[in-house]
């Protein structure tokens, strides 16, 4: 997330080292329900001590040292809502008996469908099976839907009487704040709002540690500079620190992570997935991210971009710049003739290349400034986006002369939601 306009001095928070469990903005959640009579909406900081002022009602209900079902983690981003749902598979007959109707209906609804409404999707291929969480065995489901459908989601929760389950809904992302009031008024639900960077890191470390159904969660591209020999290979992130975590959602956040508890937000950029998709909509008239990527996969960006060789006829040796490097993104579009001769696919491709290269460039500079050589890229911009991932791998390797390594994670955009779920469990 970055800069802007017309705001005075917005981002003092940047680069402040943030220790989990430490500062006022980084502590674990305080769990409260409306009925507990807490000072909802008060502007002052909430008490954040772990195991601190937990309401009596809640304490009564965590006899088994774990929260009540259902277990959700919610990450409400600028464009997409990411929802993880833990489906217990070890439900005893007695439990089944006791399970209230509402809860059952939610479980059945989520697990028996792969699509919800016209826009909700369950990423079945990402499902983590036979996971043990808080002593319970089950499957972790990954569901996403556009943020603009958030009101419908809350409406559904209300219709399914979610609030009667006396559970806590842990949510992170900007939408946790934006929709807090809607949850309260429409759904009679009090959100437990969580810091998005805390959740992100927690999620990444957790999923990497449990692995992806027996496979490695983390991978990289070998020989990224060689199109023929380039291949995706597992990467062992057993000893992950320090690492640079680049989260590409609508915008981009870049974090330097030194340990589980110690990380800082280095910077961010507003040129992210939202920019790619937004520009593609304007330039090509497409209406979905998938459509934009599909067009990009068929286009040729060199018709749109001005390359070094277009200016210098070859490499620019004075500066050691290869002829194939992009000198000016969209630079050929200064010419009327060329504007008339490019296809929508070419424009989509150029947009993708521009945004990706720029993220690679900023990430590389941050890695150099922070003296970190492993860069992990996450976020939904990378979903089904092999072009960008390979380009990031290539760019980091080429411009750092092999010093930097780009890593990727299979669950791309879901780590914030996973982190939110983990906070729910930790709080118990």
């Amino acid at each position: 997330m970055e800069p802007p306009r017309s705001c005075g001095d917005g981002a003092e928070e940047e680069k402040k080292p943030r220790r989990r469990g430490g500062g006022a903005d980084a502590g674990p959640p305080q769990l409260r329900r409306r009925s507990s009579g807490g000072a909802d909406g008060a502007a002052g900081p909430q008490p954040r001590e772990r195991g601190g002022s937990v309401s009596r009602q809640r304490r009564d209900s965590v006899r088994k040292n774990r929260p009540l079902f259902p277990w959700f983690g919610l990450d409400i981003g600028g464009t997409l809502v990411k929802l993880v749902y833990f489906e217990p598979k070890d439900i005893t007959a007695e439990e089944e008996e006791e399970e209230v109707e509402n809860l059952k209906s939610i479980r059945k609804y989520l697990t028996s469908n792969v699509a919800y409404g016209s826009t909700g999707i369950r990423d079945v291929h990402l499902e983590l099976r036979d996971l043990t969480l808080c002593g319970r065995k089950g499957n972790l489901h990954f569901i996403r839907f556009p943020t603009h459908d958030m009101p419908a989601f809350i409406q559904m929760g209300s219709e399914k009487h979610f609030s009667s389950l006396h559970t806590t809904l842990c949510a992170t992302g900007g939408g946790a704040y934006k929709f807090e009031q809607d949850f309260r008024t429409m759904g009679d639900l009090e959100l437990c709002k969580l810091d998005e960077l805390d959740c992100l890191i927690k999620g990444v470390l957790y999923i990497d540690s449990v692995g992806f159904n027996g496979h490695s969660e983390c991978y990289y591209f070998e020989n990224p500079t060689d199109a023929e020999r380039c291949q995706k290979l597992p990467f062992n992130l057993e000893n992950p620190y320090p690492l640079l975590l680049v989260n590409i959602g609508s915008g981009v956040s870049i974090l330097a992570v030194y340990s589980k508890e110690n990380y800082k937000r280095v910077t961010g950029t507003s040129l992210g997935g939202g920019t790619f998709f937004g520009l593609c909509c304007l330039l090509t008239g497409c209406s979905t991210f998938e459509e934009a990527l599909e067009m990009a996969s068929q286009g040729d960006s060199t018709k749109v971009d001005k390359l070094v060789r277009d200016i210098y006829g070859g490499d620019y040796e004075r500066f050691g710049l290869p002829g194939w490097a992009v000198a000016s993104s969209f630079g050929n579009m200064m010419s009327k003739e060329k504007r008339e001769s490019v296809s929508k696919e070419d424009l989509a491709r150029a947009t993708l290349i521009t945004i990706t290269n720029n993220i690679g460039s900023i990430a590389r500079m941050c890695a150099l400034n922070e003296n970190i050589n492993r860069v992990v890229f996450v976020g939904n911009f990378l979903r089904i986006n092999t072009i960008s991932m390979r380009l990031l791998a290539y760019a980091l390797d080429y411009w750092s002369k092999g010093q930097l390594k780009a890593l990727f994670l299979e669950h791309e955009g879901y780590f914030g939601a996973v982190g939110a779920l983990l906070e729910l469990l930790d709080s118990a």
Partner: protein, 772 residues
């Protein structure tokens, strides 16, 4: 051309014909003597540089041989006007569409050149190579773009005061000009052309491309053209300046709702550029999209620049390239971005002559055998267009013209200029006391003051050359030119850097020279020097008759009274014109009684009484006649008698009735003939006459003759005396020196006196001792 007709040159707005006829005396000046050429052809603008010799008139004074003649009725010395040849650099910027017309014009007017090659740089050098070779018959010799850019950048940073400025939003003065730092290295140059190049410059010859970005001016232009169907770069900027990016960008508050403040984030931060346009159903306005694009690109460039600056530990970033080129919106967004990403640790800096860097560099590459870097150069205010206003809506006419022909002229100075070694901190020294760019009231006053004095100055200029048939005509041209400069400065006070009384005075001198009025006051000075010399001995006798303490006061009073004789001050020139009898005694009677407006005379007297004699005093003299002869010399004589050596510094060239170095030589010789103290001091080199390197009525202690600086060091100078309104009030009033200093002047302008809390003829006597 920016200069012509600051007003009233109506019509022709944006419709200049390609077959324009070029007035030879105003554009491509001195072309007939052009020696070397360089050309920088960019995407839309061509910059031509040439080096030519300029023949202009200079006033020379030469002592008569008085042996056996009746000294009484002869003038003191002879004044002759001679032709002098000096070197000048010309830079002209015009749109590429005029290139053929210009090449034809150059061909027709090129007479004396011997050169066979033209140095060329810029992207268009390839495209126009054949055309140039065919039209001019010169061989095109291509130079690397970045090398030229950096050479040019170093050159302007070193030679042009107030070259660098920071852009400030929401301020009366859009530009904050920077003091030239004695050490310009290292710095980061971020050139935003179609792409972005980031270059680290460490020394004159050492620079390194450390990075770049493909998101640059070409992205703004290309993507902007696709999004808005607007073809021209300038029009895109116009659109952007009217748009609302928040309609297109996803802000933090769009993601967080109203609760962003809980995170310590500003809700107005852009979370995702174009993040709101992720829909096929909605229409977005061209203005909004252009604005969003501008922010996206500026922020991105600023962020990368800061990351590179941090990695290389640099805090100065100069921005150049067509994306910047004087466009206020891009300067504003880049400045914003740099402040944001560096948290104020890095400064975004811009250059007044940024557009000329490539041409200057290419020229320097071709002129290496002339060693242009060995000399000091000065911007000629008469021949340069100055910086255009950045508000296209306010002065559309001027912008149009600036896009047509814009010029920069630089004079090669006779001798290299350096800092006075006694400046306490050269990097923070600012010569000028009042910044008229900042101070609107003072600006209005002084501009009016110079306007009102103009007719008189023009009249005097014409009168100074009674034998010349075209003196009237030239004086009128001078009047018109300076008038136009003043009008330009009313609208664009920042055109030549920080506007000051000094720059107004210097501009007038440049304009006078331009029309061959090298020294309008030569005859006045000659006469006044003659009269004053005749009174020298009696003044000395009366001083010598006084007791020590009385004499010290009389000497200081004499210095001050002498300083009343200033033709630059209207209040005085009126008196001098109407009362030819007005003399030394009359002047003394005009002076304010003690306590003076600024009065540290007692400390000075105590210093003289109790301290050891100074080793060496450096005195900057002001006016000819009574001032130097009856004011300064008796004071010098007293210092010499105390055992203090004296360096007397006078201007190299004429300005108003200020005494010049060559006049001071003759005057001193005459005084030495009468006075044994002066005589022996000259003989024993205890009294040294030097030139300042300047031709200004004011004094810039950071640009002084290298010989003077050397002597100051050699003689271990421990006292600096600065005399006169121009040198001690308009400039240097707040100058901090590392040794004792005396700044004294009589305020001969009632407005200024009023400002300082005094009346006309109030006295400034400022004795300062540096705090240990």
């Amino acid at each position: 051309m920016a200069e012509r007709g600051g007003r009233g040159s109506g019509g022709g707005h944006g419709s200049l014909d390609k077959s324009i006829t070029l007035p030879p005396d105003e554009i491509f000046r001195n072309l007939e003597n052009a020696k070397r050429f360089a050309i920088d052809i960019g995407g839309s603008l061509t910059k031509l540089a040439y080096y030519s010799t300029v023949q202009h008139k200079v006033a020379r004074v030469r002592s008569f041989d008085h042996s056996g003649k009746d000294i009484e009725n002869e003038p003191l010395y002879e004044i002759s006007v001679q032709e002098e040849i000096t070197a000048r650099l010309h830079f002209i910027k015009f749109e590429n569409t005029y290139i053929e017309t210009c090449l034809d014009f150059i061909k027709d007017h090129l007479v004396n050149t011997e050169t066979k090659v033209i140095k060329a740089t810029g992207g268009g050098a390839y495209k126009f190579k054949d055309l140039i070779e065919k039209k001019l018959g010169l061989k095109v010799d291509k130079e690397d773009v970045m090398t030229c850019l950096i050479k040019g950048c170093n050159f302007v940073l070193r030679n042009i005061p107030h070259e660098v400025f920071a852009y400030q939003k929401d301020s009366d003065t859009e530009f904050r000009f920077q003091t030239n730092h004695p050490n310009i290295f290292p710095y980061l140059l971020v050139n935003i052309g179609s792409g972005v190049s980031i270059v680290k410059v460490e020394t004159e010859d050492k620079f390194e491309w450390i990075g770049g970005s493909s998101i640059g001016g070409g992205t703004f232009w290309g993507l902007g053209a696709l999004l808005t169907k607007t073809k021209k770069f300038d029009e895109l900027l116009q659109l952007a300046s009217k748009g609302q990016h928040t309609n297109v960008d996803m802000l933090v508050k769009d993601v967080y709702g109203g609760a962003y403040q809980t995170l310590g984030l500003s809700g107005n931060l852009i979370a995702s550029s174009f993040g709101k346009s992720t829909t096929a159903d909605k229409e977005f306005s061209k203005e909004d999209m252009a604005k969003s694009l501008l922010h996206m690109i500026s922020n991105d460039i600023g962020q990368l620049a800061c990351l590179y600056a941090k990695l290389h530990n640099l805090d100065k970033i100069y921005f150049g390239g067509f994306f910047i080129r004087g466009h206020p919106v891009t300067m504003r967004t880049i400045t914003y971005s740099i402040n944001f990403f560096s948290k104020g640790e890095v400064q975004a800096l811009f250059l007044r002559h940024e557009g000329y860097l490539g041409a200057i560099g290419a020229f320097l590459k071709g002129a290496e055998q002339d060693n242009p870097n060995q000399y000091s150069w000065g911007e000629n205010y008469a021949g340069s267009s100055g910086l255009m206003s950045t508000s296209p809506d306010v002065y559309p006419m001027q912008r149009t013209r600036s896009g047509t022909f814009d010029m920069l002229e630089m004079d090669r100075l006779e001798r290299p200029l350096v800092n006075l070694p006694l400046l306490k901190d050269p990097s923070t020294y600012i010569p000028d006391t009042v910044d008229l760019t900042d101070d609107a009231m003072a600006r209005k006053y002084w501009l009016t003051c110079f306007e009102e004095a103009l007719d008189g100055v023009a009249k005097r200029a014409a009168a100074s050359q009674p034998d010349s048939v075209d003196a009237q005509e030239r004086a009128e041209k001078f009047r018109q030119k300076y008038w136009n400069k003043l009008q330009t400065l009313r609208q664009q006070p920042f055109a030549y850097g920080t506007l000051t009384v000094r720059s107004l005075l210097d501009t007038r001198e440049h304009c006078l020279n331009e029309f061959n009025f090298p020294d309008p006051y030569s005859k006045v000075k000659q006469k006044e020097n003659g009269i004053a010399l005749k009174r020298f001995q009696s003044v000395i006798e009366s001083l010598d008759s006084l007791g020590w303490e009385e004499r010290q006061f009389a000497l200081v009073k004499g210095l001050l009274a002498g300083n009343v004789f200033d033709w630059g001050a209207k209040a005085v020139s009126d008196v001098l014109e109407s009362e030819p009898q007005f003399g030394f005694e009359e002047a003394k009677s005009k002076l304010q009684e003690r306590p003076w407006l600024e009065d540290s005379y007692s400390q000075w007297l105590q210093r003289l009484k109790e301290g050891p004699p100074h080793k060496c005093a450096l005195i900057f003299a002001d006016n000819s006649g009574i001032d130097i002869i009856l004011g300064v010399f008796p004071f010098v004589r007293e210092l010499l008698s105390r055992g203090t050596e004296v360096i007397l510094a006078c201007n190299s060239g004429p300005a108003l009735n200020d005494v010049t170095y060559s006049e001071s030589l003759i005057v001193t010789e005459r005084i030495a003939a009468m006075d044994p103290v002066i005589h022996s001091a000259l003989r024993d080199e205890k009294l040294l006459l030097v030139q300042t390197g300047s031709s200004s009525p004011c004094l810039d202690l950071s640009r002084l003759d290298a010989g003077l600086a050397e002597l100051v060091r050699e003689r271990q100078t421990d006292l600096v005396v600065i005399e006169g309104m121009g040198r001690a009030i308009h400039t240097n009033y707040y100058a901090a020196l590392s040794c004792e200093s005396l700044k004294l002047a009589v305020i001969k302008n009632s407005w200024l006196a009023d400002r300082l809390g005094g009346k006309i003829f109030s006295v400034i006597f400022k004795y300062e001792v540096p705090c240990k």
